[in-house]
Amino acid sequence: MDAVRLWSLSSQPLKQLIRTTTTRLVVRCCSSSSTTTGGLAPKAGGRSRRLSASTSTSDKDAVRAIRLNKVQELRSKGLEPYGYSWDRTHSANQLQHVYKHLENGEETKPEEDGVSIAGRIVARRAFGKLAFLTLRDDSGTIQLYCEKERLSDDQFDQLKGLVDIGDIVGATGSIKRTEKGELSVYVSSFAILTKSLLPLPDKYHGLTDVDKRYRQRYVDMIANPEVADVFRKRAKVVSEIRKTVESFGFIEVETPVLQGAAGGAEARPFVTYHNSLGRDLYLRIATELHLKRMLVGGFEKVYEIGRIFRNEGISTRHNPEFTTIEMYEAYSDYESMMNMAEEIVTQCALAVHGKLTLDYQGVEIHLERPWRRESMHNLVKEATGITFNEFGNDLQGAKEVTLKNLGADLDYKYKSSIEACSSIGHLLNEVFEIVVEPKLVQPTFVLDYPIEISPLAKPHRRHAGLTERFELFICGRELANAFSELTDPMDQRGRLEEQVRQHNEKRSAAISEMDGAEDKREENDESYEVTLDDDFLTALEYGMPPASGMGLGIDRLVMLLTNSASIRDVIAFPVLKIQQ
């Protein structure tokens, strides 16, 4: 899939190059009209442009120096290079819309239809007494049509000499559609509102430096409007989720990020230290346990959209901080949450795309309801032919059958993780993850997880050993996790204590292993501490109504709806390795 993506990216610039080479040439010449920085003057043709695109530090410094001179020059003319405000009458998009009817060559009367706009200059061509600038604001782009006669005194010379690509400019004038059909603001006056000091990267070469895209997201957004668009869509998705759950009567609650014990999930937490309390605090790994306290407190429908933190590796699917919605509804079971998940995802898809069929990395995804609902047992049986509830408690027998069944070509990694399973439930889940999960491309609810891997879910009302739990998969990825909540405080205490016991067992095993291998400097996955949230268990003893709850990953939902391959594409400022 990645290959496809790369190809489509690299094919685009070629087209673009052919289209823009000529204009770009002029631009560059103009913006460095008074300069001697030969390194900046581009040569024609793709190859040399590619070389100059990764503007070296010294080039940047040269540009910066030139532009700083222009800042001085502006000041000496009594002009402020960092203006204070600008009143706009329209956005670019509004103008494109309002003046759609204007014929080629037609102009509105300046005294009647004066407009004022502001934005960043992203392209520029200048001829003797004429200059065309492309201005982009939040809504879109529009051309500035600048004629020496129209502008007062030396404004045209200023425009040619002092305005660079990247500057923020405000302009007023009338509206004219050029003979070539380009809607333009026929500028009567303009002001440099912010002088930019650094050159913008060449649009398509900027993309190749992946690391810089994330480190300097704003540059990425300036160079590629589609990137900014992902974040606009993200805002829409979050707002749509809120609207949807609130229409069902859910109330938003803020629960703490800093906690005395990190519970509600199994993950390594971040630890911090509070000076005046003199104690360690953990960053939450889930909002679950506090939202459930609200149910104990008498609330019947609560949710929280919030940041979760896990001290784990980063990948295309994992960022140490990510956003989820968790929601809880009293007097309902997991069935209700399946409907809720369908409702939320389809509403968001409609808000962003206006339809329920979407493309994700070349695969067509159909979100029309209802979605497939199938138990984990059946899905595994379907894929492997193994019926897991036939094994009873014969773990060894089950492993033998599994290994035989999955075939000899199974990856070593998988074989050892199968061997390591401590119960039938773990084994079933392992086989599910290896064999079934990647195939769940279209939305599927996987139901009834084994009790061993579901410490907060209620036992299934009909099937012993299982819980009333589901996970929602789309494109082979887990998007949501939900259950009928466990409300029995004794059962809950037993399960959490068991979880702590197992964790500590692994942890001490890992520690003794580390003692053996001396230069194994890296800390093991299990080397953190897990404590029991006693306050939560006490709260349950006061009585929590039967309830269902769900957690849904918002970053992953945005990835799906914006066709983004990596979580870093949907988080504006992802956590990155320290730069050398």
Binding site: Y82, W86, L200, R217, L258, T272, N275, D488, A572
Partner: protein
């Protein structure tokens, strides 16, 4: 207190009893009277005040409950059925049975669920409960006659239903002889037993609404430790709390979101884990990322990232989110708190002041119906004061007014000088104003402003045009050298809101950071560190921008008449409880 309040109702019942003729009516009314007279035991004291005897009683209660549920096959059933919420039920049948008494709609079946409170029995095989949930309540009338159980089973069952149990009732709607809307139970299921002794609830609902004064002394659960640590108990027993902690807070954030969205602001999330803690002056929390082996700070402000998004072309942007400051906990500080920051390209601080004024006065109007709120500024034992949000808010020019009130001659242009520093020190001495070291010019000024100007700001007032040395991220004033285009909004003498024309000149920004560094070196460890990534972003050009930030918790405090920030945070950070026995109630 509660008994006194219920007197009119009791009298009415006694009057009805005298008039009643039918034996069942007499039984019913007398049981209602008895229950009202009896059901006012003092709430069990909880938390640190619990005496050893009370603690023992609680423990015994708990063990009895455990023994009881051990005899049940499934004390936590899977199925529950709810046909209406309690509010819907009450509204529907109040309307249907208006002005009627003693009506039973036996053909209708409804199912309700909630928490059973205020249990009482008539001795004639009838049990009454208040069923509570989501801020509403309704009476359950359970009689052996209507029940599916046989009488002995019925009596045994109900003797084990305890205050606080979560129950599910199916039956028919109706009104008792005294006109009380009830559900007459045919089936009665305990969904989740309450294993601990539940404090009693003040039977009167709350009259409180945002902007009005309240009286925490009337709460049935008053111990603050218990209220904040066991918020679920607080919510169940003190009817105001739900409105304060959750409803008013969510109305406020809802209003802000709507206000900003209507003006084309977009909501974004920026990181909480930062590699450098800047954008405000405060001590940050530190943490460590294992796999990357990297030191991280928890954000103290989202400002610098939001401005980067403005550089990236998102012209109107806001974030509502948590900030973290590693500081002491007191009445107005919690280590994590919620703020809203919003930025608008091509606007300046004048525009932002207008916007702020519109937002806050509009919010107060929307939530309270008027512009004036009542607040127990001087403590709950004194009378509340009135705070008036009627626009326009007063504007106080900081240096001009300070010069006037403190009789000073501060010239903003030479505030960097040693002489200015000495003059301010002298002024502080003269008026007896304490400034703990380091005595930087910025800190001295802050103390003077606190003494002379903030004191005047009970009704919302803007203090404007701060000197540059106090405002490292604000743009220099367009016509008054040495000052910046900045405003702070004060309400009830406390800062609520901070805004400015954003500094977007990267050269000046670097200088300001360098000056902050000087303050750091002179011992002010809360001065702002340089954020190179942010300065670099400014070099790509940030449009002229106005920005505002304010604390949502403080706003909640004002509108809910709360003097302690813990009142408005559902789960505030508490001191460790190691000394106390874990799991004790």
């Amino acid at each position: 207190m509660a008994a006194a309040e219920s007197t009119p109702y009791l009298e009415e019942l006694r009057r009805l009893l005298r008039m009643a003729e039918h034996p069942s009516t007499i039984g019913l009314i007398s049981s209602e009277i008895r229950s009202l007279e009896i059901d006012q035991p003092p709430p069990p004291r909880l938390g640190k005040e619990a005496s050893p005897a009370a603690e023992e009683a609680n423990q015994e209660y708990y063990e009895n409950r455990l023994n009881y549920i051990a005899t049940l096959q499934n004390p936590y059933p899977h199925e529950s059925s709810v046909s209406k919420t309690i509010t819907e039920y009450v509204n529907e049948y109040e309307a249907l049975l208006m002005d009627q008494q003693g009506v039973h709609l036996e053909n209708i079946t409804e199912s309700l669920a909630g928490m059973a409170m205020r249990q009482r029995s008539s001795g004639t095989g009838c049990f009454f409960y208040d069923l509570c949930g989501n801020g509403a309540r309704v009476q359950i009338y359970a009689s052996a006659r209507n029940s599916e159980m046989v009488r002995s089973e019925f009596l045994m069952f109900h003797s084990n239903v305890k205050r606080g149990d979560i129950v599910n009732v199916t039956g028919f709607p109706g009104k008792t002889m005294v006109g009380q809307i009830s559900i007459f139970a045919r089936s009665f299921v305990v969904l989740a037993p309450c294993l601990h002794m539940m404090p009693t609830v003040n039977p009167r609902g709350t009259e409180w609404s945002p902007g009005r004064p309240r009286n925490p002394e009337t709460y049935s659960l008053r111990d603050q430790e218990t209220r904040y640590r066991k918020r679920h108990l607080d919510l169940r027993t003190n009817p105001d709390v739900e409105h304060i902690v959750i409803d008013t807070r969510s109305e406020i954030t809802f209003y802000i979101r709507q206000f900003l969205r209507n003006r084309q602001f977009r909501e974004v999330d920026t990181p909480i884990l930062h590699t450098i803690a800047s954008g405000a002056t405060a001590r940050p929390f530190m943490t460590h990322h294992n796999e990357l082996d990297m030191q991280l700070y928890m954000r103290i402000a989202p400002e610098l990232y939001l401005k980067q998004l403005v550089v990236g072309g998102i012209e109107r942007v806001f974030e509502i989110g948590k900030q973290f400051r590693n500081e002491g906990i007191d009445l107005t500080h919690n280590p994590e708190f919620t703020t809203c920051e919003f930025y608008q390209a091509y606007a300046d601080y004048n525009h932002m002041m207008e916007l702020t004024q519109e937002m806050f006065s509009g919010m107060v109007k929307e939530l309270t119906g008027g512009y004036k709120i009542m607040y127990h500024s001087n403590g709950f034992d004194k009378d509340p004061i009135q705070i008036d949000f009627t626009p326009p808010f007063r504007r106080i020019d900081m240096i001009e007014e300070l010069n006037k009130f403190a009789n000073l001659k501060i010239n903003p242009e030479d505030l960097f000088s040693e002489e200015a520093n000495n003059a301010l020190k002298a002024a502080c001495n003269k008026y007896g104003i304490q400034c703990p070291p380091p005595e930087t010019t910025a800190r001295l000024l802050d103390k003077l402003v606190g003494h002379f100007l903030e004191e005047q700001c009970v009704n919302p007032s803007f203090i404007i045009n701060h000197p540059e040395i106090m405002s490292p991220l604000a743009k220099g004033h367009r016509s008054r050298p040495g000052l910046t285009e900045r405003f702070e909004l004060f309400v009830n003498k406390h800062e609520l809101c901070d805004g400015y024309t954003e500094l977007n000149n990267p050269i000046v920004q670097r200088q300001r950071f360098a000056n902050q560094l000087k303050d750091r070196q002179s011992g002010d460890d809360e001065a702002m560190p340089l954020d190179e990534g942010f300065c670099r972003a400014l070099e790509y050009g940030m449009p002229p921008t106005g920005g505002v930030g304010f604390g949502i918790d403080r706003l909640c405090m004002l509108l809910t008449d709360s003097l302690n920030i813990k009142e408005v945070i559902p789960f505030p950070t508490m001191k460790p409880q190691d000394q106390q026995r874990a799991g004790s109630s």
